[in-house]
Amino acid sequence: MANVLHIVVCAGVVPDPLQTLEPVTGPNGPGLKNEMVLPAVLDPWAASALYEAAALAAKNPGSKVWLVSLGPKAKLQQVMMTVAQKAGFELVPIDGPIGGFPDAHSTAAVLAETIAALPGLDREKLLLFGGWESATRGAGVTLQLVGERLGIADQFQGVDEINLRDDGSFEVLERVEGGKHQVSVCLGAPAVLGWATGNLAEPRNNPQIGMANMRSLMPALQKAKTAKLEANGLRYLSINLPKQQRTTRVVKDLTPDQIAAELVEWIGAE
Protein backbone atom coordinates (compact mmCIF):
# COMPACT_ATOMS: atom_id res chain seq x y z
CA MET A 1 0.00 0.00 0.00
CA ALA A 2 1.39 3.38 -0.96
CA ASN A 3 1.82 6.17 1.56
CA VAL A 4 1.10 9.72 0.54
CA LEU A 5 4.06 11.86 1.50
CA HIS A 6 4.62 15.57 1.46
CA ILE A 7 8.36 15.94 1.05
CA VAL A 8 9.93 19.37 1.44
CA VAL A 9 13.55 19.57 0.35
CA CYS A 10 15.66 22.50 1.55
CA ALA A 11 18.55 23.13 -0.82
CA GLY A 12 20.78 26.11 -1.47
CA VAL A 13 23.00 26.98 -4.38
CA VAL A 14 26.77 26.88 -3.96
CA PRO A 15 29.81 27.76 -6.06
CA ASP A 16 30.89 24.94 -8.33
CA PRO A 17 33.41 22.95 -6.26
CA LEU A 18 36.08 23.33 -8.93
CA GLN A 19 36.07 27.13 -8.73
CA THR A 20 38.82 29.03 -6.97
CA LEU A 21 37.41 30.87 -3.98
CA GLU A 22 38.77 34.10 -2.56
CA PRO A 23 37.17 35.64 0.53
CA VAL A 24 36.56 39.38 0.62
CA THR A 25 34.94 41.67 3.17
CA GLY A 26 32.49 44.22 1.81
CA PRO A 27 30.05 46.71 3.31
CA ASN A 28 27.55 43.92 3.95
CA GLY A 29 30.08 41.69 5.66
CA PRO A 30 32.17 38.80 4.38
CA GLY A 31 31.66 37.10 1.05
CA LEU A 32 33.51 35.69 -1.91
CA LYS A 33 35.19 37.68 -4.63
CA ASN A 34 33.00 37.77 -7.76
CA GLU A 35 30.51 35.57 -5.96
CA MET A 36 27.62 36.45 -8.23
CA VAL A 37 29.49 35.48 -11.38
CA LEU A 38 30.94 32.21 -10.09
CA PRO A 39 29.25 29.22 -11.74
CA ALA A 40 26.85 27.68 -9.23
CA VAL A 41 25.35 24.26 -8.65
CA LEU A 42 22.73 22.85 -6.32
CA ASP A 43 24.35 22.04 -2.98
CA PRO A 44 25.69 18.48 -3.47
CA TRP A 45 24.29 16.80 -0.34
CA ALA A 46 20.98 18.64 -0.72
CA ALA A 47 20.91 17.45 -4.32
CA SER A 48 21.15 13.87 -2.99
CA ALA A 49 18.16 14.69 -0.80
CA LEU A 50 16.21 15.97 -3.80
CA TYR A 51 16.91 12.87 -5.88
CA GLU A 52 15.96 10.60 -2.98
CA ALA A 53 12.77 12.64 -2.45
CA ALA A 54 11.80 12.36 -6.11
CA ALA A 55 12.41 8.60 -6.07
CA LEU A 56 10.39 8.18 -2.88
CA ALA A 57 7.53 10.27 -4.25
CA ALA A 58 7.51 8.27 -7.47
CA LYS A 59 7.09 5.04 -5.50
CA ASN A 60 4.22 6.51 -3.49
CA PRO A 61 1.54 7.90 -5.82
CA GLY A 62 -0.16 11.05 -4.64
CA SER A 63 3.00 12.27 -2.96
CA LYS A 64 4.44 15.69 -3.69
CA VAL A 65 7.91 17.27 -3.55
CA TRP A 66 8.58 20.93 -2.83
CA LEU A 67 12.06 22.39 -3.29
CA VAL A 68 12.60 25.37 -0.97
CA SER A 69 15.69 27.32 -1.93
CA LEU A 70 17.09 30.55 -0.54
CA GLY A 71 19.48 32.54 -2.71
CA PRO A 72 19.69 35.40 -5.16
CA LYS A 73 16.84 35.03 -7.63
CA ALA A 74 19.15 35.22 -10.66
CA LYS A 75 21.35 32.43 -9.28
CA LEU A 76 18.36 30.26 -8.44
CA GLN A 77 17.06 30.66 -11.97
CA GLN A 78 20.42 29.69 -13.45
CA VAL A 79 20.78 26.55 -11.33
CA MET A 80 17.15 25.47 -11.67
CA MET A 81 17.47 25.33 -15.46
CA THR A 82 19.63 22.25 -14.91
CA VAL A 83 18.07 20.79 -11.78
CA ALA A 84 14.55 20.97 -13.21
CA GLN A 85 15.54 18.42 -15.86
CA LYS A 86 16.34 15.78 -13.25
CA ALA A 87 13.50 15.55 -10.75
CA GLY A 88 9.91 16.65 -10.47
CA PHE A 89 9.22 19.31 -7.84
CA GLU A 90 7.46 22.55 -7.09
CA LEU A 91 10.00 25.29 -6.56
CA VAL A 92 9.54 27.63 -3.62
CA PRO A 93 12.25 30.26 -4.13
CA ILE A 94 13.23 32.84 -1.54
CA ASP A 95 15.24 35.78 -2.81
CA GLY A 96 18.06 36.29 -0.32
CA PRO A 97 21.81 36.49 0.12
CA ILE A 98 24.18 33.89 -1.26
CA GLY A 99 27.04 32.20 0.49
CA GLY A 100 28.08 30.56 3.71
CA PHE A 101 28.58 33.55 5.96
CA PRO A 102 24.99 34.54 6.92
CA ASP A 103 23.84 33.21 10.29
CA ALA A 104 22.29 29.73 10.20
CA HIS A 105 19.64 30.66 12.76
CA SER A 106 18.30 33.44 10.55
CA THR A 107 18.34 31.19 7.52
CA ALA A 108 16.45 28.52 9.45
CA ALA A 109 13.84 31.01 10.63
CA VAL A 110 13.11 32.13 7.07
CA LEU A 111 12.95 28.55 5.78
CA ALA A 112 10.67 27.40 8.61
CA GLU A 113 8.32 30.34 8.13
CA THR A 114 8.13 29.63 4.40
CA ILE A 115 7.49 25.91 4.87
CA ALA A 116 4.82 26.50 7.51
CA ALA A 117 2.97 28.70 5.02
CA LEU A 118 3.11 26.29 2.05
CA PRO A 119 -0.38 25.94 0.60
CA GLY A 120 -1.63 22.35 0.67
CA LEU A 121 1.14 21.03 2.92
CA ASP A 122 -0.12 18.44 5.39
CA ARG A 123 2.30 18.59 8.34
CA GLU A 124 1.28 15.06 9.40
CA LYS A 125 2.67 13.76 6.10
CA LEU A 126 5.75 15.94 6.12
CA LEU A 127 9.22 14.58 5.54
CA LEU A 128 11.67 17.47 5.70
CA PHE A 129 14.71 16.67 3.57
CA GLY A 130 17.98 18.49 3.01
CA GLY A 131 21.71 17.97 3.05
CA TRP A 132 23.21 17.10 6.43
CA GLU A 133 25.68 19.90 5.76
CA SER A 134 25.96 22.51 3.06
CA ALA A 135 29.02 23.05 0.91
CA THR A 136 29.08 26.69 1.97
CA ARG A 137 28.62 27.17 5.73
CA GLY A 138 28.93 23.45 6.32
CA ALA A 139 27.68 23.71 9.89
CA GLY A 140 25.05 20.98 9.69
CA VAL A 141 22.65 22.90 11.89
CA THR A 142 20.19 24.69 9.60
CA LEU A 143 17.95 21.74 8.81
CA GLN A 144 17.88 20.73 12.46
CA LEU A 145 16.82 24.25 13.43
CA VAL A 146 14.10 24.27 10.79
CA GLY A 147 12.78 20.96 12.11
CA GLU A 148 12.82 22.23 15.66
CA ARG A 149 10.96 25.39 14.65
CA LEU A 150 8.35 23.24 12.92
CA GLY A 151 8.01 21.11 16.05
CA ILE A 152 9.28 17.89 14.48
CA ALA A 153 10.45 15.52 17.21
CA ASP A 154 12.18 12.88 15.08
CA GLN A 155 15.33 13.91 13.29
CA PHE A 156 18.03 11.94 11.50
CA GLN A 157 21.33 13.27 10.14
CA GLY A 158 23.86 11.81 7.74
CA VAL A 159 21.17 9.68 6.16
CA ASP A 160 22.17 7.28 3.41
CA GLU A 161 19.01 5.20 3.13
CA ILE A 162 15.31 5.20 3.98
CA ASN A 163 13.03 2.19 3.58
CA LEU A 164 9.37 3.08 3.80
CA ARG A 165 7.03 0.37 5.03
CA ASP A 166 3.38 -0.22 4.21
CA ASP A 167 2.22 1.05 7.60
CA GLY A 168 3.96 4.40 7.05
CA SER A 169 6.85 3.66 9.37
CA PHE A 170 10.34 3.71 7.95
CA GLU A 171 13.78 2.32 8.60
CA VAL A 172 16.55 4.89 8.30
CA LEU A 173 20.33 4.50 8.12
CA GLU A 174 22.41 7.35 9.56
CA ARG A 175 26.18 7.67 9.34
CA VAL A 176 27.99 7.34 12.66
CA GLU A 177 31.64 7.06 13.63
CA GLY A 178 33.86 4.32 12.29
CA GLY A 179 32.27 3.99 8.87
CA LYS A 180 29.09 2.44 10.23
CA HIS A 181 25.39 3.23 10.03
CA GLN A 182 22.99 3.52 12.94
CA VAL A 183 19.75 1.77 12.05
CA SER A 184 16.52 3.21 13.45
CA VAL A 185 12.84 2.69 12.85
CA CYS A 186 10.54 5.71 13.06
CA LEU A 187 6.79 5.35 13.32
CA GLY A 188 6.35 7.70 10.37
CA ALA A 189 6.03 11.30 9.28
CA PRO A 190 6.64 14.00 10.33
CA ALA A 191 10.42 13.66 10.45
CA VAL A 192 13.59 15.46 9.42
CA LEU A 193 16.18 13.67 7.30
CA GLY A 194 19.52 15.35 6.62
CA TRP A 195 21.00 13.39 3.76
CA ALA A 196 24.60 12.41 3.10
CA THR A 197 25.21 10.94 -0.34
CA GLY A 198 22.38 8.40 -0.32
CA ASN A 199 22.53 5.55 -2.79
CA LEU A 200 21.12 7.06 -5.95
CA ALA A 201 23.18 8.22 -8.88
CA GLU A 202 22.43 11.67 -10.28
CA PRO A 203 19.40 11.24 -12.56
CA ARG A 204 19.82 11.81 -16.28
CA ASN A 205 18.20 14.88 -17.77
CA ASN A 206 14.59 14.17 -18.65
CA PRO A 207 13.01 16.75 -21.01
CA GLN A 208 9.49 15.72 -19.98
CA ILE A 209 10.21 16.41 -16.32
CA GLY A 210 11.93 19.63 -17.36
CA MET A 211 8.87 20.82 -19.30
CA ALA A 212 6.55 19.99 -16.42
CA ASN A 213 8.75 21.86 -13.94
CA MET A 214 9.15 24.88 -16.18
CA ARG A 215 5.43 25.60 -16.16
CA SER A 216 5.58 26.52 -12.49
CA LEU A 217 9.22 27.44 -12.11
CA MET A 218 9.35 30.82 -13.82
CA PRO A 219 6.15 32.17 -12.22
CA ALA A 220 7.45 31.02 -8.85
CA LEU A 221 10.73 32.85 -9.37
CA GLN A 222 8.89 36.00 -10.37
CA LYS A 223 6.81 35.86 -7.19
CA ALA A 224 9.72 34.97 -4.89
CA LYS A 225 9.56 36.86 -1.64
CA THR A 226 12.66 38.64 -0.40
CA ALA A 227 14.30 37.67 2.87
CA LYS A 228 16.68 39.72 4.96
CA LEU A 229 18.87 37.67 7.28
CA GLU A 230 19.73 39.02 10.72
CA ALA A 231 23.29 38.60 12.00
CA ASN A 232 22.15 37.60 15.52
CA GLY A 233 25.31 39.03 17.00
CA LEU A 234 27.57 36.93 14.78
CA ARG A 235 30.80 38.81 14.06
CA TYR A 236 33.61 37.72 11.79
CA LEU A 237 37.02 38.71 13.13
CA SER A 238 39.04 37.36 10.22
CA ILE A 239 38.50 35.36 7.04
CA ASN A 240 41.42 33.87 5.18
CA LEU A 241 42.51 31.23 2.75
CA PRO A 242 44.68 28.53 4.32
CA LYS A 243 48.37 29.18 3.94
CA GLN A 244 49.49 25.60 3.76
CA GLN A 245 52.03 25.66 0.99
CA ARG A 246 54.38 22.70 1.27
CA THR A 247 57.76 22.18 -0.27
CA THR A 248 57.18 19.12 -2.39
CA ARG A 249 60.02 16.72 -3.09
CA VAL A 250 59.35 15.09 -6.46
CA VAL A 251 61.13 11.72 -6.69
CA LYS A 252 61.52 10.49 -10.25
CA ASP A 253 64.61 8.30 -10.20
CA LEU A 254 63.94 5.56 -7.64
CA THR A 255 62.97 1.98 -8.42
CA PRO A 256 59.77 0.50 -6.96
CA ASP A 257 61.95 -1.43 -4.47
CA GLN A 258 63.65 1.74 -3.29
CA ILE A 259 60.38 3.66 -3.06
CA ALA A 260 58.78 0.80 -1.11
CA ALA A 261 61.67 0.72 1.34
CA GLU A 262 61.41 4.49 1.87
CA LEU A 263 57.66 4.31 2.35
CA VAL A 264 57.82 1.45 4.81
CA GLU A 265 60.43 3.28 6.86
CA TRP A 266 58.22 6.41 6.83
CA ILE A 267 55.09 4.49 7.78
CA GLY A 268 56.81 2.86 10.72
CA ALA A 269 58.43 6.05 12.03
CA GLU A 270 56.82 7.76 15.01
Partner: protein, 346 residues
Protein backbone atom coordinates in the same frame (compact mmCIF):
# COMPACT_ATOMS: atom_id res chain seq x y z
CA UNK B 1 31.06 35.86 34.57
CA UNK B 2 30.68 33.08 32.03
CA UNK B 3 29.56 29.62 33.05
CA UNK B 4 30.93 26.97 30.73
CA UNK B 5 29.25 23.60 30.38
CA UNK B 6 30.99 20.75 28.59
CA UNK B 7 28.54 18.14 27.33
CA UNK B 8 29.94 14.61 27.22
CA UNK B 9 28.63 11.13 26.62
CA UNK B 10 29.87 7.61 27.20
CA UNK B 11 30.77 5.08 24.52
CA UNK B 12 29.22 1.68 23.85
CA UNK B 13 30.62 0.31 27.14
CA UNK B 14 28.16 2.55 28.97
CA UNK B 15 30.71 3.96 31.41
CA UNK B 16 33.73 5.25 29.50
CA UNK B 17 33.64 8.74 28.06
CA UNK B 18 34.34 8.93 24.34
CA UNK B 19 37.67 10.33 23.24
CA UNK B 20 35.89 13.26 21.57
CA UNK B 21 34.17 14.00 24.89
CA UNK B 22 37.50 14.02 26.73
CA UNK B 23 38.99 16.32 24.11
CA UNK B 24 36.11 18.72 24.72
CA UNK B 25 36.78 18.57 28.46
CA UNK B 26 40.32 19.78 27.74
CA UNK B 27 38.95 22.63 25.63
CA UNK B 28 36.52 23.54 28.40
CA UNK B 29 39.23 23.57 31.06
CA UNK B 30 41.48 25.76 28.91
CA UNK B 31 38.68 28.20 28.11
CA UNK B 32 37.47 28.38 31.70
CA UNK B 33 41.00 29.10 32.91
CA UNK B 34 41.47 31.84 30.33
CA UNK B 35 38.16 33.55 31.03
CA UNK B 36 38.14 32.94 34.78
CA UNK B 37 34.84 31.17 34.23
CA UNK B 38 32.99 28.52 36.18
CA UNK B 39 33.26 25.06 34.62
CA UNK B 40 30.63 22.33 34.69
CA UNK B 41 30.64 19.00 32.89
CA UNK B 42 27.47 17.19 31.92
CA UNK B 43 27.49 13.43 31.40
CA UNK B 44 24.91 11.37 29.52
CA UNK B 45 25.04 7.65 30.35
CA UNK B 46 22.67 4.66 30.20
CA UNK B 47 22.88 3.96 33.96
CA UNK B 48 23.73 5.75 37.18
CA UNK B 49 26.64 3.34 37.69
CA UNK B 50 27.98 4.20 34.25
CA UNK B 51 27.58 7.90 34.97
CA UNK B 52 29.45 7.48 38.28
CA UNK B 53 32.33 5.71 36.56
CA UNK B 54 32.49 8.43 33.95
CA UNK B 55 32.33 11.09 36.67
CA UNK B 56 35.22 9.42 38.48
CA UNK B 57 37.40 9.84 35.42
CA UNK B 58 36.66 13.58 35.57
CA UNK B 59 37.17 14.00 39.31
CA UNK B 60 40.41 15.91 38.86
CA UNK B 61 39.00 18.28 36.25
CA UNK B 62 37.98 20.77 38.92
CA UNK B 63 34.48 21.07 37.54
CA UNK B 64 30.95 20.74 38.81
CA UNK B 65 29.73 17.37 37.57
CA UNK B 66 26.17 16.83 36.39
CA UNK B 67 24.72 13.61 35.05
CA UNK B 68 21.68 12.34 33.22
CA UNK B 69 21.27 8.59 33.22
CA UNK B 70 18.75 5.98 32.26
CA UNK B 71 18.00 3.24 29.79
CA UNK B 72 16.52 5.79 27.38
CA UNK B 73 20.03 7.13 26.84
CA UNK B 74 21.61 3.79 26.03
CA UNK B 75 21.34 4.66 22.37
CA UNK B 76 21.67 7.85 20.40
CA UNK B 77 18.28 9.23 19.45
CA UNK B 78 17.16 12.78 18.70
CA UNK B 79 14.22 13.10 21.07
CA UNK B 80 15.85 11.59 24.15
CA UNK B 81 19.34 13.05 23.66
CA UNK B 82 17.97 16.53 23.05
CA UNK B 83 15.89 16.27 26.22
CA UNK B 84 18.93 15.09 28.21
CA UNK B 85 21.21 17.86 27.02
CA UNK B 86 18.51 20.49 27.45
CA UNK B 87 18.09 19.39 31.08
CA UNK B 88 21.86 19.53 31.67
CA UNK B 89 22.13 23.01 30.15
CA UNK B 90 19.25 24.32 32.23
CA UNK B 91 20.69 22.78 35.40
CA UNK B 92 24.11 24.30 34.76
CA UNK B 93 22.69 27.68 33.70
CA UNK B 94 25.48 27.75 31.18
CA UNK B 95 26.32 30.77 29.06
CA UNK B 96 28.76 28.85 26.87
CA UNK B 97 28.22 25.19 26.01
CA UNK B 98 30.96 23.08 24.45
CA UNK B 99 30.09 19.72 22.93
CA UNK B 100 31.99 17.19 20.85
CA UNK B 101 31.01 17.01 17.20
CA UNK B 102 30.18 13.33 17.55
CA UNK B 103 27.34 11.97 15.45
CA UNK B 104 25.32 11.80 18.65
CA UNK B 105 25.65 15.44 19.62
CA UNK B 106 25.82 16.82 16.09
CA UNK B 107 22.30 15.43 15.66
CA UNK B 108 20.85 17.44 18.55
CA UNK B 109 23.05 20.38 19.59
CA UNK B 110 21.40 22.97 17.35
CA UNK B 111 17.96 21.96 18.57
CA UNK B 112 19.04 22.29 22.20
CA UNK B 113 20.53 25.72 21.49
CA UNK B 114 17.25 26.78 19.92
CA UNK B 115 15.21 25.50 22.87
CA UNK B 116 17.33 27.57 25.21
CA UNK B 117 17.03 30.67 23.04
CA UNK B 118 20.70 30.41 22.19
CA UNK B 119 22.90 30.14 19.13
CA UNK B 120 25.28 27.56 17.79
CA UNK B 121 28.40 27.38 15.68
CA UNK B 122 29.68 23.98 14.60
CA UNK B 123 32.91 22.39 13.39
CA UNK B 124 35.01 24.57 15.66
CA UNK B 125 38.70 23.74 15.36
CA UNK B 126 40.14 26.21 17.87
CA UNK B 127 38.94 28.51 20.63
CA UNK B 128 41.04 31.56 21.37
CA UNK B 129 40.76 35.09 22.69
CA UNK B 130 41.49 36.58 26.08
CA UNK B 131 38.65 39.06 26.60
CA UNK B 132 36.16 37.63 24.17
CA UNK B 133 35.71 34.10 22.91
CA UNK B 134 37.06 33.67 19.39
CA UNK B 135 36.10 30.50 17.57
CA UNK B 136 37.87 29.26 14.47
CA UNK B 137 36.08 27.22 11.85
CA UNK B 138 36.20 26.44 8.15
CA UNK B 139 33.77 27.41 5.43
CA UNK B 140 33.26 26.11 1.91
CA UNK B 141 34.37 22.61 2.79
CA UNK B 142 37.66 23.47 4.43
CA UNK B 143 38.68 26.00 1.78
CA UNK B 144 38.19 29.24 3.75
CA UNK B 145 39.12 29.67 7.41
CA UNK B 146 37.36 32.23 9.61
CA UNK B 147 37.51 33.42 13.20
CA UNK B 148 34.17 34.49 14.61
CA UNK B 149 32.60 35.60 17.84
CA UNK B 150 29.12 36.17 19.28
CA UNK B 151 27.81 38.31 22.06
CA UNK B 152 24.55 36.38 22.36
CA UNK B 153 24.25 33.73 25.04
CA UNK B 154 23.92 30.86 25.51
CA UNK B 155 26.43 30.12 22.79
CA UNK B 156 26.94 26.51 21.76
CA UNK B 157 30.21 25.45 20.17
CA UNK B 158 30.54 22.01 18.58
CA UNK B 159 34.20 21.00 18.58
CA UNK B 160 35.67 18.87 15.81
CA UNK B 161 37.43 15.73 16.98
CA UNK B 162 41.20 15.71 17.02
CA UNK B 163 41.59 19.42 17.73
CA UNK B 164 42.47 19.09 21.43
CA UNK B 165 44.32 16.58 23.58
CA UNK B 166 42.07 14.17 25.45
CA UNK B 167 41.69 14.94 29.17
CA UNK B 168 43.45 12.30 31.25
CA UNK B 169 43.19 13.12 34.93
CA UNK B 170 43.70 10.86 37.90
CA UNK B 171 40.47 8.87 38.45
CA UNK B 172 38.92 9.35 41.87
CA UNK B 173 35.52 8.27 43.16
CA UNK B 174 33.01 10.94 42.24
CA UNK B 175 29.28 11.20 41.82
CA UNK B 176 27.73 13.69 39.47
CA UNK B 177 24.62 15.58 40.54
CA UNK B 178 21.77 13.62 38.99
CA UNK B 179 19.62 15.80 36.76
CA UNK B 180 16.04 14.76 36.13
CA UNK B 181 14.78 14.62 32.56
CA UNK B 182 11.21 14.74 31.38
CA UNK B 183 11.30 12.20 28.56
CA UNK B 184 9.27 12.96 25.46
CA UNK B 185 7.15 10.31 23.80
CA UNK B 186 9.51 8.28 21.64
CA UNK B 187 8.51 7.47 18.06
CA UNK B 188 11.94 6.18 17.09
CA UNK B 189 13.49 2.85 18.01
CA UNK B 190 17.20 2.35 17.48
CA UNK B 191 17.91 -1.21 16.39
CA UNK B 192 21.70 -1.04 16.31
CA UNK B 193 24.69 -0.43 14.11
CA UNK B 194 25.34 -1.86 10.68
CA UNK B 195 28.76 -2.15 9.07
CA UNK B 196 29.18 -1.90 5.30
CA UNK B 197 27.81 -5.04 3.66
CA UNK B 198 31.04 -5.71 1.79
CA UNK B 199 32.33 -7.33 4.94
CA UNK B 200 35.60 -5.47 5.25
CA UNK B 201 35.76 -2.59 7.71
CA UNK B 202 38.13 -0.22 6.01
CA UNK B 203 37.37 3.05 7.84
CA UNK B 204 39.48 3.40 10.97
CA UNK B 205 39.27 6.90 12.43
CA UNK B 206 41.98 6.17 15.02
CA UNK B 207 44.53 4.93 12.47
CA UNK B 208 47.81 6.78 12.18
CA UNK B 209 47.75 6.50 8.41
CA UNK B 210 45.12 7.36 5.82
CA UNK B 211 45.53 5.49 2.54
CA UNK B 212 43.75 7.20 -0.33
CA UNK B 213 42.93 5.27 -3.48
CA UNK B 214 42.25 7.28 -6.61
CA UNK B 215 40.55 6.42 -9.86
CA UNK B 216 43.85 5.47 -11.46
CA UNK B 217 43.64 2.05 -9.81
CA UNK B 218 40.85 1.07 -12.18
CA UNK B 219 42.20 2.69 -15.33
CA UNK B 220 43.87 0.72 -18.12
CA UNK B 221 47.42 -0.22 -17.22
CA UNK B 222 50.43 -0.31 -19.58
CA UNK B 223 49.32 -3.71 -20.94
CA UNK B 224 46.04 -2.14 -22.08
CA UNK B 225 43.99 -4.06 -19.52
CA UNK B 226 42.17 -3.08 -16.34
CA UNK B 227 43.44 -4.92 -13.27
CA UNK B 228 40.70 -4.15 -10.76
CA UNK B 229 40.95 -7.45 -8.91
CA UNK B 230 44.69 -7.04 -8.45
CA UNK B 231 44.14 -3.45 -7.33
CA UNK B 232 41.65 -4.61 -4.74
CA UNK B 233 44.03 -7.26 -3.40
CA UNK B 234 46.90 -4.78 -3.17
CA UNK B 235 44.80 -2.18 -1.38
CA UNK B 236 43.24 -4.61 1.07
CA UNK B 237 46.61 -6.27 1.62
CA UNK B 238 48.12 -2.93 2.51
CA UNK B 239 45.27 -2.08 4.87
CA UNK B 240 45.68 -5.44 6.63
CA UNK B 241 49.43 -5.03 6.98
CA UNK B 242 49.46 -1.38 7.98
CA UNK B 243 46.14 -0.98 9.88
CA UNK B 244 45.56 2.13 7.81
CA UNK B 245 42.18 3.70 7.17
CA UNK B 246 40.94 3.79 3.58
CA UNK B 247 39.79 6.93 1.83
CA UNK B 248 38.84 7.34 -1.77
CA UNK B 249 38.19 9.94 -4.39
CA UNK B 250 34.57 10.46 -5.47
CA UNK B 251 35.22 9.22 -8.98
CA UNK B 252 36.43 5.85 -7.75
CA UNK B 253 33.53 5.40 -5.33
CA UNK B 254 31.03 6.38 -8.02
CA UNK B 255 32.34 3.64 -10.28
CA UNK B 256 31.28 1.08 -7.69
CA UNK B 257 27.86 2.71 -7.28
CA UNK B 258 27.24 2.54 -11.01
CA UNK B 259 27.27 -1.22 -10.90
CA UNK B 260 30.86 -1.76 -11.92
CA UNK B 261 32.48 -4.32 -9.68
CA UNK B 262 35.74 -2.44 -9.64
CA UNK B 263 36.61 -2.19 -5.96
CA UNK B 264 33.56 -3.66 -4.24
CA UNK B 265 34.72 -2.83 -0.72
CA UNK B 266 34.50 0.92 -1.39
CA UNK B 267 31.38 2.84 -0.41
CA UNK B 268 30.48 6.51 -0.21
CA UNK B 269 31.56 6.35 3.43
CA UNK B 270 35.15 6.06 2.18
CA UNK B 271 34.84 9.19 0.11
CA UNK B 272 36.94 12.19 1.12
CA UNK B 273 36.80 15.70 -0.24
CA UNK B 274 34.03 18.10 -1.19
CA UNK B 275 31.19 15.63 -0.77
CA UNK B 276 33.02 13.29 1.54
CA UNK B 277 34.77 13.49 4.85
CA UNK B 278 37.80 15.48 5.94
CA UNK B 279 39.49 13.00 8.27
CA UNK B 280 42.31 13.69 10.70
CA UNK B 281 45.29 11.35 10.61
CA UNK B 282 48.99 11.82 11.35
CA UNK B 283 50.02 10.62 7.90
CA UNK B 284 48.46 10.19 4.50
CA UNK B 285 49.51 8.19 1.47
CA UNK B 286 47.72 8.89 -1.80
CA UNK B 287 47.92 6.54 -4.74
CA UNK B 288 46.62 7.07 -8.26
CA UNK B 289 44.90 10.33 -7.31
CA UNK B 290 44.75 13.27 -9.67
CA UNK B 291 45.02 16.93 -9.02
CA UNK B 292 41.75 18.51 -8.15
CA UNK B 293 40.92 20.85 -5.32
CA UNK B 294 38.23 18.48 -4.00
CA UNK B 295 40.94 15.93 -3.25
CA UNK B 296 43.03 18.53 -1.52
CA UNK B 297 40.05 19.46 0.65
CA UNK B 298 39.86 15.91 1.89
CA UNK B 299 43.50 16.13 2.94
CA UNK B 300 43.24 19.39 4.83
CA UNK B 301 43.86 17.85 8.24
CA UNK B 302 46.44 15.22 7.31
CA UNK B 303 49.86 15.78 8.89
CA UNK B 304 52.57 14.27 6.72
CA UNK B 305 51.53 13.59 3.13
CA UNK B 306 53.11 11.39 0.49
CA UNK B 307 51.84 10.31 -2.89
CA UNK B 308 52.55 7.76 -5.59
CA UNK B 309 51.52 8.94 -9.02
CA UNK B 310 52.54 8.38 -12.61
CA UNK B 311 51.94 12.03 -13.39
CA UNK B 312 54.91 14.20 -12.37
CA UNK B 313 52.89 17.33 -13.11
CA UNK B 314 49.88 16.33 -11.07
CA UNK B 315 48.41 19.59 -9.79
CA UNK B 316 47.45 18.43 -6.34
CA UNK B 317 50.89 17.22 -5.44
CA UNK B 318 52.80 20.45 -5.97
CA UNK B 319 52.73 22.42 -2.75
CA UNK B 320 50.27 19.98 -1.16
CA UNK B 321 52.25 16.77 -0.62
CA UNK B 322 55.61 16.51 1.12
CA UNK B 323 56.93 13.80 -1.19
CA UNK B 324 55.68 12.57 -4.55
CA UNK B 325 57.02 9.36 -6.00
CA UNK B 326 56.61 9.25 -9.76
CA UNK B 327 56.03 5.54 -10.18
CA UNK B 328 53.51 2.80 -10.90
CA UNK B 329 51.43 2.33 -7.75
CA UNK B 330 50.78 -1.33 -8.62
CA UNK B 331 54.49 -2.09 -8.53
CA UNK B 332 55.23 0.06 -5.51
CA UNK B 333 52.37 -1.19 -3.34
CA UNK B 334 53.18 -4.83 -4.13
CA UNK B 335 56.70 -4.20 -2.83
CA UNK B 336 55.41 -2.24 0.17
CA UNK B 337 53.06 -5.07 1.12
CA UNK B 338 55.83 -7.63 0.86
CA UNK B 339 58.11 -5.54 3.06
CA UNK B 340 55.41 -4.88 5.65
CA UNK B 341 54.63 -8.57 5.90
CA UNK B 342 58.32 -9.40 6.21
CA UNK B 343 59.14 -6.80 8.80
CA UNK B 344 55.88 -6.46 10.70
CA UNK B 345 56.52 -2.74 10.83
CA UNK B 346 53.24 -1.73 12.45
Amino acid sequence: METILVLTHVDETGSVLTRASLETVTAGKELAARLGATLAIGIVAPSSAGAATAASSLASAGARLLAVSGEAFAQARYATDAAACEALCRAAEASIVLAPASSRYTRIAAAVAHRLGGFIDAHITAIGGADIVEATRWFYRQRVEAVLSRDARPWFLLLDAGTHAAFAGQPDPAQGEEVAVELPESRTTVSGLRAPSQGTQTIRPDAKLLFVAGAGWTKKQPDGQIHAAEAGELILGFLRASSASLGSSKSLVDQGGEGNSVLPFLTHLNQIGQTGSTPRHAKGLATCCHGEEPHVVGWRFIGERRAVSLDPNCGWTRGKADVVYVADAFQVMAKVNALLQQEGVI
